[in-house]
Each structure stands twice: as C-alpha cells, then as structure tokens.
Symmetry: D2
C-alpha cells in the first residue's frame, strides 16, 4: 500500500469563476490528487469544504498519512472542531502540506502561532523559484531553479516563524521575493508550506510543481504509528520515577490526581 | 523611563493554599514584579485573572514592553478575546515570557502551535539548570549551572517547536531532563519560555531565577515601535510595484479590492 | 543494493588496552559495522587509521553513502588532506555520523566551525537518553527514553552550533545533562552527532544504540547524485542571466574570467 | 566607552583599480569605520592585510568587541595562524560581521564549516533587499525593503548552514535571489553575514547599508567577559561531580590526567 494522501479542496472558485472552472474542471483538489495518483507509491483521495465535516472525519484522518490543504475564499467557513481535529492529527504524526493561499487557512495559522501575512499582487507575472538547500529531498529532481510564467505575487515579510529549513525562495518580476518552501515540525508531525498555486493559472498542471508536491508528500510522511493522545501530560510519581527518590516538601496534588490545564 | 513590564498572575493558589500564601503573601506576581523593580531599568506592574479583562486591556498592553505570564489552575478561565489581544501585541512586537506551568496557558499554546505537553512529578526534588548557549544574554551572570533544591519535575518530550536557541537544559534528581530555557520569535515579538516556578516552593525568591527573568526581559524587549496591524496583507498593485510590470492573464480580484481571508 | 556505509575506526585502544580488546576483539569499527550488516538494507565496511590514507581514498568515498566516524586517542594523526576530502564528500551529499569522542575529531570540528568542547568524567555512571523530538526517524523504535548502565559522562555546555533538531538529551547520574543527538546539514550532506560509545564499556553491543545508529544511517542517506564540485561559484554572465538585463557601470572582471577566492 | 570595532580591509583593489580608488580614496575599511565613527556609541579602527599579522595581534583582538571583515582578491594571503586567532576570539565571545565577498574568506569558511559558494555576475544591476524578520534589531530603521541601484549579483544556492535567522533576502534585476542577511552563533560569538559591497560601486556610502552595519555591530556585541579558553574540556572527576556518585567499571584515564584530543 502506498502513502495515503488526502487533498482538501475548498472548491468554491471552481464553481463560481469561469477561468478556474476551465483550468480545473474537476476541481483543483482533483487535479492535485490526479497528479499524485499517476506516479508510484501514493494513493490520493479528495475531500471538499462542502461535505459534512468537510470530509475530514476522525475515520478519514486516521486513514490519512499526509493531508494537503488548498483554500482561499472560504477559510472562515471551516469548522473549528475540524481544525482542532486536523491539528491533533498533525501533532500525533500526520504529515501536512499547505499550498499557496492556505497561508491564511485556520489550521496553518493555528500550527504556526503567527500572523502568516504577506503582500500580494494578482498580475500574472513571472515567478522563479530558487532552491536554497541543495539536494533537499523536497527539491529532488529540480535543478537550481524553475519558472512559472504566470503567478500571483506573494511578498516578504512573510509572517511565519523561522523554519527548520528554507527550501525555496521565489523571485518575482515585479520586484519582490518570498520564502516559498518552508519546513516545520509541530508535535510529531512534519509540515511543509509551498507557495505556488493561484487558481486562475494552470500551476497545478506544471510538472515541476507536481514533482515538488510529490516530494513533499514523501518528506512529510512518517511511518511511525500515530500518537494516540499527543497532548497527554502524564504524572510520573515517585514510585515510577526512573531514579529512586524520596518525596519532599509541600504538595498541591494528591497522588493519582490529574494535572491542571 | 525603563522597560515597562507587566506581570500577569493567576492568583488562585495564593488564595486557596496555605503553603503558597505563606511563600507569596502578596501573590507570586507581586514577588516577581518586586524583584524586577529592585533593579535598575525596569518598571514592573501586575495584573491578575480576577480583574476585568484580567487587567490586560488594550491600553495596558499598549503600555507594556514585556509581558510575563504565570498561570496554572485556571488557564481555562482566561477569556479568548484577551488571548487574541495578547497574541496580537506579541505579533506587533511586545516581548513575552512564559513561566513554568504557563506551558499550558492559552497564549503559549496559541503562539507555539503545538501541544506544549510534558511529564511531571511534584516531589520537591533537586533541579539543576545547565547553560547550553555560552554567554547568551539570558544567562548573563549565571555560571555554567545553578541549582534549585526543591522543584516540581518537568520531563521530556516537551511538545514545543524547535526553538531559535536552547539556552538551558534541566537535570532532575528523579532521572528526567527538560529543555528549560527556550527562545522563539512570533511575528515581531520575542518569546522566552523559562521552566522553574512551582507555587509550593520559594523559587521566585531565588537570586538566580530572578536574574534569569531580568535577563529575559532585557532580551525580549524590542525598542522598535509596535506594528499597528501585524496581520495586514496589503495588495501591492502593478502601479505601486517596485519594478515596472504590465498586468497579464485572468484575475479574481478587482483593483483596490481587499484580499480574501 | 543497500545503503553503503563505511565505518572509520581509529583502532588504537583496541590494540593497547585489554578492557577494550576484550569488549571489541575485532575492533569497535567491526562491532558497529557488524551490527549494521545483521539488518536489511545496509552494506557496511570498515577502514582504520592505520591504512594508507586511513582507507578513505577518493574511490572509497565515492562508494560511500554514509560515513561513520569513531576516534579518540589519535585525532591528530588523521591527515589534513583526508579531512578535506571527507568534508568535500559531505558537502557533495554524503551522509556522516559522528560517534562519541569524535566530537573532537578533525572533520567534526571542521564541519561545525566551533570549539566542540564539553566536560567529561570517566566513572562508569548511568546515562539515560531522552527523546526530545517525538517520532523523529532517528528515534524510531525507541520509546521516550533508554538507559546505558555504564557510560562516560559528557556535560554541557557542548560547544556546537544550534542544530537543525535536538533529538536526544542525556541525563547523567553525577548531575550533568548533554544534548546527545543533534542533526545538521553542511552543503548537501546530512550530519548526525550521537554521544554514546566510550571504549571501555559495551555500548556498541547495546540494542538501542545499534538501532539509533541504523536509524541515523537511514536518515543521513541521500539518494540524490553526489554534487561533483560542491564549492563551485559559477559566473552567470548577462548573456545567460535568467532575465534580460544590460550590463552597467565599472567592472573588475573581464567576461569569462574566473571569480576570486 | 563605546563598542570597540575593528574593520579589517584587504586593501588591494583600492591600490590597483582606479574605480575603487576613486570611490574609496582612503580604502573601503576607512569608509566603513568612518561611517561607524560618525554615530554614537561606537569607536571603530582599521587594520589591513599588509600590516604585520594583518594588524590582528592578540592584543588587538583582546581590545575588539566586534570585528568586521572585507576581503576579495587576497583571501589566500591571510595567515592561517591569524585565522585561528580570529576564530578563537569569536568562540570566546567577540562579535563578527562578514561583508560581501568575505563569504569566501578563510575565517568565514572556517566558522561555517560549509562551502560558502554562490553564483555571481558583475553587471551593475539593481538589488533590492527585503526584510524577512520584522523588527529584527539588525533591520532597525529600515522599512520593509531598500534598494541599491548598482550591485554585483550573488545568487542561490548559497552554500551556508541554515542560520539562526534569515534577516534579509535580496532580489536581483537579472532574475536571482539571495539570502543576504544571516545570523549565526559560533561558540560564544555572534556572527552576521551581510551581502552588499562590491568594490566598484559606492555601496558603503549608502545610508541604509551604513545603518545595517551599525545595527549589526550592536546586535553582535556581547558585553560578557571574553571566555579565556573557549575550547577547554575540563575533567569533572567524581569528587567534584554535582551529585555524589561512586566510580565504577574499567577506566582509560588516571585521575587528574588530561583528556585526549
């Protein structure tokens, strides 16, 4: 069995905007999942905002090794309970990839703990992504750079924490730069942000973009068993302490009592 | 005028528990602020959970250079609107220090984007903090290590993101270790987590602990003006782009339109 | 074909010290390689200080995916030309694992750019390694901690740069702590430092230690082709610049001239 | 007394090349030091390659809080003994700033442990530096970006380790990007790399560049006393161990013996 990928698509502009519908007749999520399924070793399915619980039930997340998120127009419609569930899955070890305008999605903002803002311009300008970490597995098969002839500009300062590694930095025709490939770890889960993918351009049909997303899935995937309760804070009482010690001094808690939250 | 510090104290166990009340008759927040005020260059005030808006009004935060947070029993009673306001201030450039059990406070979990969990034991055991980043300003005046004869144990794995720098690592008598001094940046704000400070021990009367907190204030303080809207995502249209470019291709947005969130 | 590992052993104390010889009759390098060869997917060979060029010829390095280094008594006898060659291979993409006293080996100091010093004590005390990055591939199959009943102590401050990730922190019976598993990237190469392995104790016969080294090999291995000249600094003249530009202003270099070093 | 800055200038092209001599009649080092001396709180002096020991005697380094390094044509002429001394001073707590072509200087390569290579083009093109870490002290007083109308291009991939923080990223007219402001810590010393400064352009007369260098000095400066022997590795024998332990098992070293290197 391959790596089980779930692609979340907001699926709003595909329905409302003729340009987007023409580029992605089955939806952007379907284009992304389709490209992943054409290669070996990945089994990708899709879910959308419009489904109950956005398709992201506890069962679905339990069967997801890596979750890919694309959203733009309707971040606010994503239910907070689903966001909690997604973050919990990441903390337990699920990999997660955020694409483009998902920088303002609820789960990305929650996992980053920072504003996640940027500057932007929708002018169909040229973007060139440069690899800043040579031979990084996410850049496998990409040379030192690749181009997208038409893309939305995202500019610095990008309001995210310093990453584990900066993998790509983008050059834009209009004069801006952007850290466009960033890796993080949150709890036991690997997180990758990848910038390209404005919905009015054919970005997800680009071979290099597809390759980076595939590489990102392989990088984010962790074969270890999901941690059941990734927020547990166990009380290691003196009788089970690694070293023999004797309890001293005043206490707040009685033995066996739960910790405070 | 010195650095303006506000110390948030939960002020619950000081009222309910005789041991804590005896150690900190004016409250733990008052002990922390008092130690800061005894030195030069810092003007510390206090606020508590019980005040309206926990004392953390927009006005108070605007006059706070560094916010220190201690809470344990009543994390859940902190209003979400105040948590939003505090995180916004950090993103705009306010420094913030989280002490001990504040690892499970709402603003720390929000800023970390991770579970922030750990293991624990209340046995009055010995803790020894080792400096892992020589000459770090937060460790100024501390040698290679210092001891606290009685402390609560916190053990790894600590569910936080990899920090900018690990400044202290703790040894515990019962056999555990803990990364007990960690630095982060979130938006424009410097964040420092410092482990010691269980309420049933006289930790905040310890000279080394007081020195580290003072150093932490100096480190976290940023003299730059607070960013007014740290989440703003301005549209840099072609007419104001740094380089002259011509708009191309299909668009979602009309000129002057706000971006989507 | 599996991952090709070369284990460098200094092979000095095995010849001089009866305790070490009894523990590792074929040498420590042979014990380490043997453990790797007992599993699937790795083909380990050994080289020693005493061989011409310490066995680390250009040919040998070209056939090495991951190099493991153990040395202690004779760091100074390692030829500088070989150190250069090893660092060059790392920069080109070879993985490298440094064990225990290799913290003071020439290639480790060269790759870290820092003093790499620490405190130490040879007293056969208990060490307990705690995982600080849950589900990290290097800690796969290890629980939250494991023990070594007799080890040399290494203590903080450890004079190394802040790592990409801190994977293990050690507790020592005598009161010290140590960041005992650290990851780095240098050029295109992954580097892992792992602390245990004093020669007078049976550490490399320990199942957990063997597992971590195996995991480390899998983590450090990069299937990408080795970069031929990892220090090349190509001149991208205006005629091959990604964007059309016109040369302006005064110049030091004539076209086609090499850069300065 | 202010922060004591020493500016090392290679002082070769100023003597050989008319353009450089016209721009910097007293030498580039003098221009850099002069700008620092025009403000408050810094006392800058200069040394050059041509002086005995390049002016960087043990006495001079002992009186230097922050060393600034500019070199290009004659990296190979810098004596290895002086490089060792400089790195030792950094490890002991001296701040250090590397400018432009100093990316290939011996002390930078030594401190980074990596190839430090890049791509380049001398075409007088426009560079725009974007701030990627808002309110970072090194970017104080700079807005979100600033421009240099004529600069040499440096392009990614830049062969350096992942920094503590990426402070600036440059956009170049010819299509490249570069991480042009990077912070590191090596031993107890703060290290800042800042890209601009090709010798045929008036870069060090630019007010923004001067401001960043000044900010960099303030950031790199550490008031703590210099560590006398930053590579010392003391033996903490059982009689001085923090916790009472009894020596066990076989030993290599006799008590009081020096460790191996």
């Amino acid at each position: 069995m391959g790596i089980r990928v779930t692609v979340y698509g907001e699926n709003v502009h595909e329905k409302k905007n003729r340009t987007v519908a023409d580029l992605y007749p089955e939806g952007m999520h379907a284009a992304i999942a389709g490209a992943l399924n054409r290669g070996e070793g990945i089994e990708a399915t899709t879910v959308t905002l419009q489904e109950p619980e956005h398709g992201l039930t506890a069962e679905k997340l339990a069967q997801t090794d890596v979750l890919i998120w694309w959203g733009h127009a309707a971040h606010g419609d994503v239910q907070d309970a689903v966001v909690d569930r997604v973050c919990d899955a990441v903390w337990g070890g699920m990999g997660m990839i955020f694409l483009h305008s998902a920088h303002f999605s609820k789960p990305f903002k929650r996992l980053m703990g920072s504003p996640c803002n940027l500057t932007w311009r929708e002018a169909g300008e040229r973007e060139r992504l440069w690899v800043t970490s040579r031979n990084h597995p996410i850049a496998a098969g990409i040379g030192d750079s690749f181009e997208l002839e038409n893309e939305e500009m995202y500019g610095e300062p990008f309001g995210v924490p310093e990453p584990l590694e900066t993998v790509f930095v983008s050059w834009f025709q209009g004069g801006e730069v952007f850290r466009s490939g960033l890796t993080y770890k949150r709890g036991a889960g690997n997180v990758f942000y990848f910038r390209p993918g404005h919905e009015t351009y054919p970005t997800y049909h680009d071979a290099n973009v597809q390759r980076v997303i595939r590489n990102g899935v392989n990088w984010a995937y962790n074969p270890a068993a999901r941690i059941a309760d990734p927020s547990a804070a166990p009380n290691i009482t003196v009788d089970i302490a690694p070293e023999k010690i004797v309890e001293r001094g005043p206490k707040l808690h009685q033995d066996g009592e739960e910790g405070l939250r």
